[in-house]
Every structure is written in C-alpha cells, then in structure tokens.
Amino acid sequence: MHHAWIRVGRALRAALLCALALLFLVPFYLLVRNGLATEAEITAPNWTFFPRRLQWSHLTEVFADPNLPLGRALLNSTLIAVSTTLGTVLLASLAGYGLARIPYRGANAVFYAILGTLMVPAAVTFVPSFVLVSSLGWISTLRGLVIPTLFSAFACFIFRQYFLGFPRELEDAARVDGLGYWRTYWRIVVPNSRPVFAAVATIVFIGAWNAFLWPLVIGQDQEAWTVQVALSTFTTAQNLNLHELFVAAAVSIAPLVVVFLLLQRYIVAGVERSGIDD
C-alpha cells in the first residue's frame, strides 16, 4: 500500500516535469513555426500546429531584405561579443591573479574598491556612462560599444576566488625554474585553469551577445546596430512581415543555442562557482 503511493507520487512528479518542460519549449516552437510558415498560415484564424511546407526560402529572403540590415547586425554582434569576451577574460583574469597571488600592501583596498562597483549596477550608471562616452566622441563606434563594458568586477571576482585555491606547488616549481610572475602566469597558471576560463568566457559571450540597453544607447546609427537592436527596432515599429521577424530572431539565437548546449557544463560550473551563495 505504502509503496504503491510512493510510485504514484513519483509518476505524478514525472508527469508534472514533462508538462513543465513542454511549456518551457513552447516559445522555441513558436519561433521555428512562425519563421518557417507562410504569412497566411501565421495569421490564419485556425491554428496550424506545423507549417504544411517548411519555407526554407525565408532564410535567404530575410538576408536579402534591404529594410532589415541583418547581415551587418550579425557581424556587429559577432565583433562586439568576441572582442568583449577576449578583453574581459584577459583583463579580469590578470587582475584576479594579481589580487590573489602578488603580495602588495594596498591589495585589499583595491579589491574592495572593485567589489564596491558590484553594488552600483551597470544599468544605473548608463546615463553618466553615456555622458562620458559621448564626450569622448565614441557614439556609434565599436570602441564605444566594447571598451566601457570590458571591466567586469564580477569576472574579476570569480577569477580571484579561483586563483586563491590554485595549487601553490605548481607555481613553486616554476619559481625554481627561474620564471617570474609574468611567465609563471602564462606557462603554468593559464594552461592549468582552462575550465574557469571557459566558464567565464561563455557567460561573458552570452551576456555580450544578448546585451540590449547599452547597444541601444550607444549604437545609434543603423551601421552600428547589433542584432538585438535591429530586432527590437522592428518589434516595436511593426512594419515588417511576421515570418521575416521570426526567422531573423531564430537566426540570432541559433549560434547561441549551439554554443550553450555544447558548453553547458562550463556555464553551470561558472554559475555555481560565482560564489554568491557560498
């Protein structure tokens, strides 16, 4: 009797999880369904669960539409996301290592000054940052879109926490071989820390690709639009065919979904490592 109830409970839980999983996948289904259906199928009063014929031609159509600069926007997003990721990881990992491993009297003060900026969320500083960037003449430039976002206190914090636990024996061996801080860092520390670099890099990349407020404020000219700004412009203006908008949105998240599924264990490790709950 008791065991039967446990089995019923387990089955109910599995059914609930399956239902929730289906619900979580509905938006992805809508993205693909609307992107590959004809405009008539999308706006028909009766719901078609799946397009009668998949309109793969929408993929070429959306890239050829002169109103929607999708190719350029994807290029901009790629350039911004890649350079932001490389720059952030380089700067934050060096700083994290210095803070964790190079003895210096002011190290704690510097660390708290860095940590303090986490209390001031980037979004609250967007007005003053806009003021600064515009007075530098960086509006609608790659510089303006990338450089102010390179200094992530969050990434620096993760690297510092990680390097504090890095095995000292490895570094000591390098010292005996006569390597200084710089060469120890590049030859010993970095090659032995690949997972943490992968974790931070994937999280930063996803954040940079999906960023919206800063690119909206800084990338004002159409040539400087990221893919998010381009999609947003047409979502809010509503002067584009639905199927085009959906296929463009699907194209914009496809690379990310692939990266995400391939590197998921690093992202999970990064989220867990962030130490916010330790």
């Binding site: 028909a44 003021v131 450089i147 206190a153 979502t235 639905l242």
Partner: protein, 329 residues
C-alpha cells in the same frame, strides 16, 4: 599580513619573519618589494584603471551634473543646486516608476523563487533523464530579452485572433484579449512577468541544485530514523532550512535584477506611437528623461543618483534583514 612583511627591509629587524613568509609566497625569494608592487600593478592596473574610468568617473560626473541645468550638454554652466532633486522627487512620473518597480518585484520575486526551487527539487530527485530536464529548463538563459519579448508580443500574447493565448482561450469559447493594451484589468503584467519568469527560472534552478547537492545525505538518513516522512515534512524541516544561504542570495539577486528591468518593458510596450503612460519602471523612465527628445542630462543624473542610493540602502538593509553572514547557524 604578507603584504606588511614584504614592506620590511631585507636586513632590518623583521628580516627573519619576512624570510619565513617569503618561503610560503612564490616568487618573493627572487623579487624585492618594489618589484612586487610593480608586478601587482602590471597585473591589476589595466583593469582597475578601466573600472575607475568607466564606473567611478561617470558616477562622480553624474553627481556633478545633477546640480546643473544640463539640457543637451555635458559641460553645463547653469547651477541649480538641489533643483533637479526636488523636481525629481515631486515628479509624479518618477514616483510612479518606483511604484511600478515595487509591484513588479511583488510579482516576479516570489514567482521565480517558487518555480526555480520547485524545478530544482524535482529535477534533483529524478533517477533518469536528469541532464535532459536540466538542459530544457536552463536553455531559455541563452535567449535574449529582445527575442523573448518578440515571441511574447507578436505570437504568444498577440492581441489579435491568431495569438496563441487567444487561440487557446478561443477553444474554450472565451473572447479575445488585447493583452498588452488592456489596462483594466492590467493584463500586461501577466505578459511582462511570464517573459522574465521563463528567461530566468532555469538560472536560479541551477543555483538551487548546487545548494541541494551540498546538503549532507546523513541529515536525511537521520530524519528518516526519527520518523519524518519523505515529501513535505522532510522538505520543510531539512531541505528548506539547509538552503537558507542560497535562498538569501537568490532573493537579493532577484530584487536587484528586477530593479534594473528595462529590456522586456521597452520591447513589449513601446510601439510606433511611443511608450504608453503606464508600466514605466525606473530605468525606462530614466531612459526617456535623459536620452529622449529633451536630453535633460541634469535631471537624468539626479534620477541616477537617487536610484543608486536606493539600491545601495536596499541591498544593505536586505542583507541585514535576511541575515547574510549568519549562515553558520
């Protein structure tokens, strides 16, 4: 400690202590204190300088601008004292943006907390397909607010007949609802809250899963010996109290992120005619004040300073109230 020892001259009275410490700190045997501070700044300097330039300088500049009448200029000459602050704090639109944030927090924080905790507990107890379910719930994290808002606005909660929500309601004979433009009842909240819920629940589920895996299995064994039934009793007396530190962090993050909400509000609600007068959270209000047609940077800066103060005070108060740093008990 090591840093202080490093400052002592090599032949001075502290030399022995320093030498002892140096053996534990790699590299110090080969480098004097000056060389070490040089290396410290080579590693930390570029990052610290950039952070100062792009966080502290704008903040300071913002405080400066907030005392001036700065329309369309960043080098104003018209000092207005606290004028921007008083007009900000007496502006009904600014105060109602704080109200919008409060209401949004009231919806999104408990909803995300409950859903992500429930997902974590259920996924954690699965004996098969655990990785699959974790991936499905975590996958929306890869999606941007812009794309999610696009799906919600133009398909899921489209106010016309072919929107999915209206289609499903139509199967049961219900009328169509203009989800985003109906203010009575305010259905737009359902749209706004579900977007964020879908996007972030998986992220917090991962945090809770990590927390669950740190709970010692012995606690559950002991509870079983004491006669606690698996299920609600065990959850209430073991799991939930053990997740206290994670819960505090999750609630803090949820509130801070709700305070910064911009993307989904902007993309769901603004259209060719502009942004409607309702449902403007602080950042949307600030965006239109500082960067809209008027470019009133003085007023916008005063708003940014007020928001920064609110968030700092709220973070500290919340951390105190929720007992951050009391996780030993």
């Amino acid at each position: 400690m090591t840093a202080q020892a490093a400052e002592a001259p090599p032949d001075g009275p502290g030399a022995r202590g320093a030498a002892e410490r140096e053996r534990r700190t790699p590299g110090t045997r080969f480098l004097g204190p000056q060389r070490r501070s040089l290396w410290f700044w080579i590693f930390v300097g570029p990052f610290a300088l950039g952070l100062a330039l792009f966080t502290y300088v704008p903040l300071a500049w913002s405080v400066y601008l907030s005392f001036f009448d700065a329309h369309n200029t960043v080098t104003p000459t018209d000092f207005v004292g606290l004028g921007n602050y008083t007009s900000m704090l007496t502006d009904g639109a600014f105060l109602s943006s704080l109200g919008t944030f409060a209401l949004f927090t009231l919806f999104i924080v408990p909803a995300t907390y409950a859903l992500s905790l429930a997902l974590a507990v259920m996924v954690n107890r699965l004996r098969f397909a655990q990785a699959f379910f974790r991936s499905v719930f975590f996958l929306p994290t890869a999606c941007s607010y812009v794309v999610a808002a696009l799906i919600w606005k133009l398909s899921l909660f489209n106010g016309v007949r072919f929107g999915l929500a209206n289609t499903v309601l139509g199967w049961f004979g219900a009328d169509q609802t203009a989800w985003l433009s109906t203010t009575d009842p305010p259905w737009y909240w359902l749209v706004i809250v579900t977007v964020r819920l879908w996007l972030q629940a998986g992220f917090y589920m991962i945090l809770f899963l990590a927390g669950l895996q740190r709970i010692s299995p012995q606690l559950y064994e002991a509870a079983a010996v004491d006669g606690a039934r698996p299920g609600w009793q065990t959850f209430r007396h073991i799991t939930f109290p053990q997740l206290r530190a994670t819960s505090v962090a999750v609630v803090l993050l949820l509130v801070i992120n709700a305070f910064q909400a911009f993307d989904e509000f902007y993309n769901l609600l603004s259209d060719a005619r502009g942004y409607p007068p309702y449902a403007r959270p602080p950042l949307v209000y600030l965006y239109y004040t500082a960067l809209g047609r008027e470019q009133n940077l003085g007023l916008g800066s005063a708003g940014a300073v007020i928001l920064a103060l609110i968030i700092a005070v709220a973070t500290v108060a919340q951390a105190r109230w929720l007992g951050l740093g009391r996780k030993e008990d």
